[in-house]
């Protein structure tokens, strides 16, 4: 009894210290990045430090058997071997595949052993591949209960035998089976490479110790232990069900109990794959490695993003032009005939939220056109030319479209100060958390929140500061704001817009605004009167726009007056 208590408290203390170390490393990282790390080694070292603390945590957890297979585990291992691979000219890629692993990121399993297995497999793959790529992927699915030979859906025909291990628990048998069937998730790990394969006859035996493929024409070295270690790890690790070597690589399945994932929040790096209504975002990919490009394209397609892949940098400019043409076309077609209406000078409004247009009146039909995310590997060509093409794209992009640029700068040659402030630079390979961060820029996945995009709001307030702030906040949220100084201006603008809206020839009256924010106390026709007259004007058109009345008065006479006026 005492032992387990002591255990628990010791582990708690260790966890606290580890958390402390992790937190301090993150602070250091922020400090360094704020000062501009230039080409220092510190950030890379700090990332490895964080990885080590996660390992320690993993070991601790495995003692208590409450570990998690985080997405970071895969990323850490792949990142560890990526530099080694790059030196040889081999790209080490973590394939997000179908993103299923993010749905089941909280599981019980032995993190340390799993990492060891992956490390060994990856180390082998990199060692025995002289060019091309090594791809690591993991995907999750609910296990099927029948045992038997299951063919993988990959074209390299790896066959895995399925046999279920019972996960020992302290509960009663029936409870255990109940829990198991509900919560079990099957993970399949695959490490494929373009190196010399393992010949069929050797595939079974290669997991024994000391056995190594003898064709060492290229002098590939190895201790012969690697896969043997994998074998014993697989045997002795709870939950790992089987491994199989195939032509192109090795895969193993792990049958792991997953903690129900809706009882907690996903970590920040996980991808929220609940896609909101499709906002029509597009991604343009220009990446040096064709394999990585293809895998990314596949993944994005699965999660519902439209992707354009540009294979060479000469094609960048024409591709961007085409995207822009399509976007601008859809925007202008929605403008309709309103572009012929009189252009009012911007000075009539103290703050014009419609920068760049002469058409000051609200347009009933213009809506949000789309978001374009441009991901470019700086090693594809001369940065000068690439950045020129991108700048050209951004110029004249219709104002209803947003764009964001992500530079993949593995050579770390970019000077961030010379880039536009919203551009993102990623110097580590684009997979794992960096990939999710990039996708997170898209509006469907929690990108810059513009919930009011496409909305038109009339703001009437005689306080210039209040007007400024309301306009600013509204614009930040994506709305088009039409500020007015007093009730009279508001009424005038409202009536004019209502008129114009009807000349476009629609059968139904188009609403000039989605909402009106009206301050009640204003000079030159206060808000209350303006509201009453707006309602009157609306009657003849049969519309009713929500008006939000703002007042500093507390309950009392003034409030009652407001309600009297507005029937």
């Amino acid at each position: 009894m005492n032992k387990s208590l002591a255990f628990a408290s010791a582990s708690h203390d260790i966890r606290a210290s580890l958390a402390g170390i992790n937190g301090l490393i993150e602070i250091c990282r922020n400090e360094v990045s704020k000062r501009g790390p230039l080409r220092s080694e510190i950030p890379a070292n700090q990332l490895q430090m964080e990885s080590c603390t996660r390992d320690l945590l993993g070991i601790l957890n495995s003692i208590l058997d409450t570990s998690k297979i985080e997405e970071k585990l895969m990323e850490d291992v792949v990142d560890l071997y990526h530099p080694v691979g790059t030196k040889k000219g081999v790209d080490v890629i973590l394939d997000p595949f179908d993103g299923s692993v993010t749905k089941f990121s909280r599981v019980r399993g032995d993190r340390g052993k799993l990492k060891q297995i992956l490390s060994n497999l990856l180390s082998n793959a990199v060692k025995f591949t002289s060019n091309g790529h090594v791809v690591v992927r993991v995907w999750a699915k609910k296990p099927s209960l029948e045992s038997g030979i299951i063919t993988s859906n990959k074209s390299n025909s790896i066959r895995c035998l399925l046999c279920l291990f019972k996960i020992q628990r302290a509960y009663s048998e029936s409870e255990a089976t109940q829990r198991e069937t509900n919560n079990r998730v099957e993970f399949v790990f695959e490490v494929n490479d373009t190196g010399k394969g393992i010949p069929k006859e050797k595939q079974k035996s290669v997991f024994e110790n000391y056995v190594q493929v003898k064709e060492t024409a290229l002098g590939q070295e190895g201790t012969g232990f690697g896969l043997g270690i994998v074998q014993s790890l697989v045997k002795h690790t709870r939950g790992i069900v089987d491994k199989e070597a195939g032509e192109r690589g090795i895969c193993f399945r792990a049958d792991i109990e997953s903690i129900s994932h809706d009882s907690f929040r996903h970590s920040g790096t996980s991808l929220r794959t609940h896609s909101l209504k499709n906002e029509g975002s597009q991604v343009l990919l220009l990446i040096d490695s064709p394999e990585r490009s293809t895998l990314l394209q596949g993944f994005m397609h699965i999660i519902g993003i439209k992707v354009h892949v540009v294979k060479q940098y000469e094609q960048l400019s024409p591709s961007l032009k085409m995207i822009k043409r399509k976007l601008n076309l859809s925007y202008y077609s929605s403008l309709g005939k309103s572009t012929t209406s009189s252009a009012r000078s911007k000075k009539e409004f103290p703050l014009s939220a419609l920068e760049g247009t002469d058409d000051v009146l609200p347009n009933p039909r213009a809506g949000y056109s789309g978001f374009v995310l441009i991901v470019i590997d700086t090693s594809v060509g001369l940065f000068r030319h690439i950045s020129r093409a991108v700048a050209e794209f951004k110029r004249d992009l219709s104002e209803n479209c947003c764009s964001r640029v992500v530079w993949l700068d593995s050579l770390q040659g970019l000077d961030e100060d010379n880039l536009p402030p919203l551009d993102l630079v990623i110097s580590m390979p684009l997979h794992g958390s960096r990939l999710y961060q990039t996708i997170g820029l898209l509006p469907e996945f929690g990108g810059k929140k513009k919930p009011l995009l496409g909305r038109k709001v009339l703001v009437a307030d005689d306080d210039p500061i209040g007007r400024t702030i309301a306009t600013f906040v509204g614009v930040q949220l994506g709305a088009s704001i039409f500020p007015c100084e007093n009730g009279e201006e508001a009424l005038k603008l409202f009536c004019k817009s209502l008129d114009e809206g009807n000349h476009v020839g629609a059968s139904k009256t188009l609403l000039p605004f989605d909402c009106i924010l009206m301050d009640c106390e204003m000079s030159v026709m206060n808000g209350v009167e303006a509201m009453a007259r707006i309602r009157k004007a609306e009657e003849s058109y049969g519309v009713r726009i929500p008006i939000i009345a703002l007042t500093a008065h507390k309950k009392g006479q003034e409030i009652d007056n407001i309600f009297c006026f507005i029937t």
């Binding site: 402030p421 306080d463 209040g466 400024t468 600013f472 930040q476 500093a552």
Partner: protein, 154 residues
């Protein structure tokens, strides 16, 4: 001067302004609205406040210096100043305006003049403080640092 030092001074100064009641949570909200894509938001709003307030205070002075004080005008102007000082978080100016309004209803010319003095004083004080704060901000940016954010306040 080192960026760290500047940032620390900035935080200390801002905290003291909140503590002494010159600024309230509203100003904090404005600071939070500012970001890389709108780095001058606070400066713009503050400048607007200065312009607007100066105009109103001038008008009020003129009105109160007349033989026959036009209380209607005062009644129109004071709430405006109260509104804009609220919007920017200039707490003491706002409170002074509230007192002013009460005396205006009583049509007490002397009291009103005293109130006007009070409002003017508070305005000048907060103006000075805000200008100092903005100067600090500009120094930080010039030294290559980022303007630190205070955690949630009042």
């Amino acid at each position: 001067m080192e960026v760290d030092q500047l940032q620390r001074s900035f935080l200390e100064y801002t905290t003291s302004l909140f503590r002494e009641g010159f600024l309230d949570g509203q100003f904090g909200q404005l600071q939070m609205l500012q970001d890389e894509s709108n780095p001058d938001f606070v400066v713009e709003v503050v400048s607007l406040f200065f312009e607007d307030s100066q105009r109103i205070l001038n008008d009020l002075s003129i009105t109160l210096n007349q033989q026959n004080v036009d209380y209607k005008k005062i009644d129109a102007n004071v709430p405006q100043l109260k509104g804009s000082s609220s919007s920017i978080g200039a707490q003491r100016v706002r409170n002074a305006c509230i007192a002013f309004r009460n005396f205006c209803e009583e049509q007490n010319a002397d009291a009103c003049r005293r109130c006007l003095q009070q409002v003017k004083q508070e305005y000048l004080l907060v103006k000075e403080k805000l200008e100092a704060l903005i100067r600090l901000e500009q120094q930080i940016v010039a030294a290559g640092g980022a303007i630190p954010m205070l955690n949630e306040f009042s």
